[in-house]
């Protein structure tokens, strides 16, 4: 299983994501300026501050050369996971519904949070525990979509992860922490599962989200 991990200028958690996926497969670094996914089986868009988060998080990265291939890959059914900044990029690219707004606190927040797995039946979650302790760290993580869209997302089981009651760190609508597209192959989440793969540095609850993808090649 080859996981491609994209590095944009300003990506910060790209090496962390590479280390995490290397525990369940092979990590293949992908460069933003290339038009080549190097035959990977799944793509991870990692966290960080691509292009400094200037203008709007994800807005500039969404047009990076490699995103042409990522969008094609996703339309063909390839599995794409966006973590934090990667989630923002996927929303800006319209591969995922909704948008991420500034936290209601207006501050960056780095905190271990409890998550509930709402939909264990996705390609990304079938090996994940029902409750996960995973850190968040962001300033722009308040999930937003118009109310009817939120209803539809819930009805379609596209809300995959929720902050546990009382743990919503950013004011996200309906405590949403992660959503999947209708086809079930593009997943975005604000918490950082790549920072929850080793008991020494936190928890191992995030590992299942990567492990679930094993065998998911196109």
């Amino acid at each position: 299983m080859k996981f491609g991990v994209i590095t944009f200028p300003g990506s910060c958690d790209d090496l962390d994501a590479q280390l995490a996926v290397a525990r369940v497969g092979t990590a293949v670094p992908l460069w933003h300026a290339d038009h080549d996914l190097q035959g990977v089986d799944a793509v991870i868009i990692p966290g960080g501050f691509s292009y400094g988060d200037y203008l709007r998080p994800g807005a500039v990265a969404r047009f990076a050369p490699i995103m042409t291939e990522v969008i094609e890959f996703a339309h063909a059914g390839g599995h794409v996971m966006g973590i934090c900044n990667g989630f923002q990029v996927l929303c800006e690219a319209r591969l995922l519904p909704g948008a991420l707004l500034t936290n209601t606190s207006l501050r960056f927040v780095c905190r271990q949070v409890s998550l509930e797995l709402v939909n264990p039946d996705t390609a990304f979650t079938r090996e994940a525990p029902a409750r996960l302790s995973i850190p968040v760290k962001h300033t722009t993580g308040r999930y937003y979509a118009p109310e009817p869209d939120l209803d539809r997302l819930e009805a379609n089981r596209q809300v995959v992860l929720r902050y546990a009651p009382g743990e919503n760190p950013n004011g996200s609508a309906r405590d949403i922490a992660g959503v999947i597209n209708e086809a079930g192959n593009v997943f975005g989440l604000m918490p950082h599962p790549e920072h929850a793969v080793d008991a020494l540095t936190g928890s191992t609850d995030g590992l299942g989200l990567f492990a679930s993808l094993r065998g998911c090649g196109l």
């Binding site: 300003g10 501050f49 400094g52 780095c110 790549e194 920072h195 540095t201």
Partner: protein
């Protein structure tokens, strides 16, 4: 472009040079300097660059040790951490810029110390911040706190370097001079480190990174070298704006250039920009350098030569490159979308020559520019009367329960989560102990070993007794490391003081540096580098003398054994380690009671404190304890409450304790918990329940303690 001597003196005074210094310049040069030269000289002869008031003191510090790879004199010091890995670290202040514009000042402070670390070829892996503000009752303090914390987070978070530790104190004397010190730790292969000495006449000087604007003209270097009074509006620099995105690329470029072995020397542009960095590179290498200003990419077209030379635009580096390697250097820069230009050449002249195309604008021998500044002996005198007024009285009660709650809510002790949650403390996947989980941050290295780091300084205690207060700061920092099982490898320090030309400040500085040297010699810790920030004074007086200590140590045991503050299990025994003999002098309780600072602190038994440190360290390393925490501000009762709150577990202590034993402070005491037959020290109680009880004196439910401890929440809405 000659000016009459009186006009020269006037111009020089504007730039902070004394008449005697100006005369010396004329004598050494054998002529008068022109405008560009004078601007350059004034910068390099400032306290910030020349250390003219502090060099003799700094030279007394011990700078050798078996593990030391790079000592003071380079952009950062470095120690060996095994298997070919080294750790570089340094602390630096950005006090004055942060007082002018707290968000950008703090942000660019972080940016600056990061550059010092990657300038030696190390990848930054951690930042710590050491902050001092006035009392939080003041609106200005709340504004500064909020913006400084946001600025530090903005830069560190955006660039992907975790901020893993630090400290913050609130004291009246910092009201008009906040302190913003940032420490950075970097990781490098020993054989990839680089120095800043230029070499090889004919080699090229390459400037890369952001373009040059009017940022901070006459900024940090001039500001940090003189008292900043009312009516000095005109001297205020253009505020430097931090661009962490540009620095992230600059960092990747620098590290990749070194990885590919493409550079002869590397240097960051910090205070005073090209003027301080280029001459220092040339001087260290015993060569000369010609710079052509026409080749410097400018952000604004109409900049004067002296403005280009002293611009403090951020996110820039200079490197010395052999001509055959230039093309590869430019290719690496292009890959990362970083602009690079050849702006000069190494010469054999022993001079810095500044040109603009064909026109020669400045020609200064390095022995005048870099080494010519006179070094001043300080005149030190212990003040005959108190320098600091008593803090306002805030607490009348003598009931131990009320005292404990007041101490937990005191801004110097209350929970710091509202600050550190604004910092990414985990990026890079090395953070084994996050902020507040243990007394020191713990980072795991690629070779499986771990290092620990902390910063410390209780300025109030240093003010009460500069010698003993400084000793205590070093001991406390080492105690923090001991709690995670780490032994210091090297020390960095930031000497934040008032105006050293005043005898009582000179006395504080002299005593403090003497203690620093004594502590380092006693504990066999080399000083790997540091920084000096003087003239932190306002009309209200000087700051508390604040020699911030930063330590990096190694664990030597399984990283997972690093003890946490939190009690671990119901039923564990609680013990006190160390011949802990606290006193209320200059304690947090004395402050809450509005007591004046005492004239001195009780004598410090460094030997005894070191024994206690070693006991705790050994117990952590062997896994004999389940938790460890040093006793600091607020004394035993506060430390015990902190162990309980971190765990959500209560504790019971049966021994009757006096007010002094409960709340007094002093070095060398620890609280550990674990199996009664394994833990070191005197057993005093047991973990368990939902209350903290200390004999007849204290009985408070945990949630009540927690409520008091969360007092800082209000400062961040």
């Amino acid at each position: 472009m000659k000016v009459a001597v009186s006009a020269l003196h006037a111009a020089a005074r504007e730039l902070g040079l004394t008449d005697a210094e100006t005369d010396l310049i004329v004598e050494l040069l054998g002529r008068e300097p022109n405008t560009v030269e004078l601007a350059m000289l004034s910068v390099l002869w400032s306290e910030h660059c020349s250390y003219k008031h502090s060099k003799p003191l700094l030279q007394t510090l011990p700078t050798h040790g078996p593990r030391l790879l790079m000592g003071p004199g380079e952009n950062a010091g470095a120690v060996d951490v095994g298997d070919g890995w080294t750790v570089a670290f340094k602390i630096e202040s950005h006090n004055h810029p942060s007082a002018v514009e707290p968000f950008e000042g703090a942000a660019t402070g972080v940016g600056g110390i990061l550059r010092d670390i990657f300038a030696v070829g190390a990848r930054p892996i951690a930042v710590l911040d050491s902050l001092r503000f006035g009392e939080p009752g003041s609106e200005r303090t709340r504004y500064l706190l909020d913006r400084v914390v946001a600025g530090i987070g903005h830069y560190g978070n955006s660039i992907g370097v975790p901020t893993v530790g630090g400290e913050v104190y609130f004291e009246g004397p910092y009201e008009h001079n906040c302190l913003v010190n940032a420490m950075c730790i970097g990781l490098a292969r020993a054989d990839r480190m680089i120095r800043s000495a230029a070499a090889g006449p004919g080699n090229l000087l390459v400037l890369f990174g952001s373009s040059t604007g009017r940022d901070g003209i006459g900024g940090a270097s001039v500001l940090a070298s003189a008292e900043f009074g009312e009516g000095d509006e005109g001297k205020r620099p253009t505020v430097q704006i931090g661009d962490p995105f540009a620095e992230k690329k600059l960092m990747e470029v620098s590290l990749e250039l070194l990885e590919r072995d493409l550079l002869v020397a590397l240097q960051d542009l910090g205070a005073a920009g090209l003027t301080s960095s280029v001459p220092e590179m040339a001087s260290k290498g015993g060569v000369g350098i010609d710079i052509d200003l026409a080749k410097v990419p400018l952000r604004e077209a109409d900049m004067r030569p002296q403005e280009i030379m002293v611009s403090e635009s951020q996110e820039r580096m200079v490197a010395i490159v052999e001509p055959p390697k230039l093309e590869r250097v430019l290719a690496v820069c292009a890959h990362w979308e970083v602009a690079a230009s050849v702006i000069g050449e190494v010469t054999q002249t022993g001079c810095i020559r500044v040109l603009s195309g064909e026109e020669l604008l400045a020609d200064l021998p390095l022995d005048v520019l870099v080494d010519g500044c006179p070094i001043y002996e300080l005149t030190a005198a212990k003040p005959s009367q108190p320098l600091y007024s008593s803090p306002p009285r805030q607490l009348d009660s003598t009931d131990p329960n009320s005292i404990l709650l007041a101490l937990l809510a005191s801004p110097n002790i209350a929970d710091r989560r509202y600050l550190y949650e604004q910092y990414d403390s985990i990026v890079q996947s090395r953070t084994v102990r996050r902020p507040a989980s243990a007394d020191a941050a713990v980072l795991v290295l690629p070779n499986g070993r771990a290092i620990a780091t902390a910063t410390d300084c209780n300025g109030r205690r240093v003010a009460a007794d500069p010698y003993r207060g400084t000793l205590e700061s070093v001991l406390e920092c080492a105690a923090n490391l001991a709690c995670v099982g780490a032994e210091p490898l090297g020390l960095t320090n930031n000497l934040n003081f008032g105006n050293p030309e005043k005898p009582h400040i000179a006395w504080q500085l002299t005593e403090s540096v003497r203690a620093l040297g004594d502590a380092c010699r006693a504990m066999e810790i080399p000083v790997v580098g540091g920084n000096v920030s003087l003239y932190n004074e306002s009309a209200e007086g000087p700051i508390y003398p604040t020699p911030v200590i930063g330590l990096v140590g190694e664990l030597l045991s399984e990283p997972s054994r690093a003890a946490c503050i939190a009690f671990a299990h119901e039923g564990d025994a609680v013990a006190v380690v160390g011949a802990f003999e606290p006193s209320l002098a200059a304690s947090e309780l004395a402050k809450l009671r509005g007591e004046p600072l005492p004239d001195e602190l009780p004598e410090v038994d460094v030997g005894a404190a070191c024994v206690a440190l070693a006991m705790v360290r050994a117990a952590v390393r062997t896994g004999a304890v389940h938790s460890a925490h040093d006793i600091a501000e607020g004394g035993f009762a506060v430390a015990l409450a902190e162990c309980c709150l971190a765990a959500g577990l209560g504790a019971t202590v049966e021994t009757e304790l006096s007010e002094t034993k409960l709340f007094g402070e002093g070095p060398g005491g620890f609280i550990v918990s674990g199996p009664a037959d394994q833990i070191p020290g005197r057993i005093v109680g047991t973990v368990g329940g939902e209350r903290l009880r200390i004999a007849a004196a204290i009985d408070i439910p945990l949630d009540r303690l927690g409520e008091a401890h969360s007092a800082l929440a209000a400062l961040f809405d």
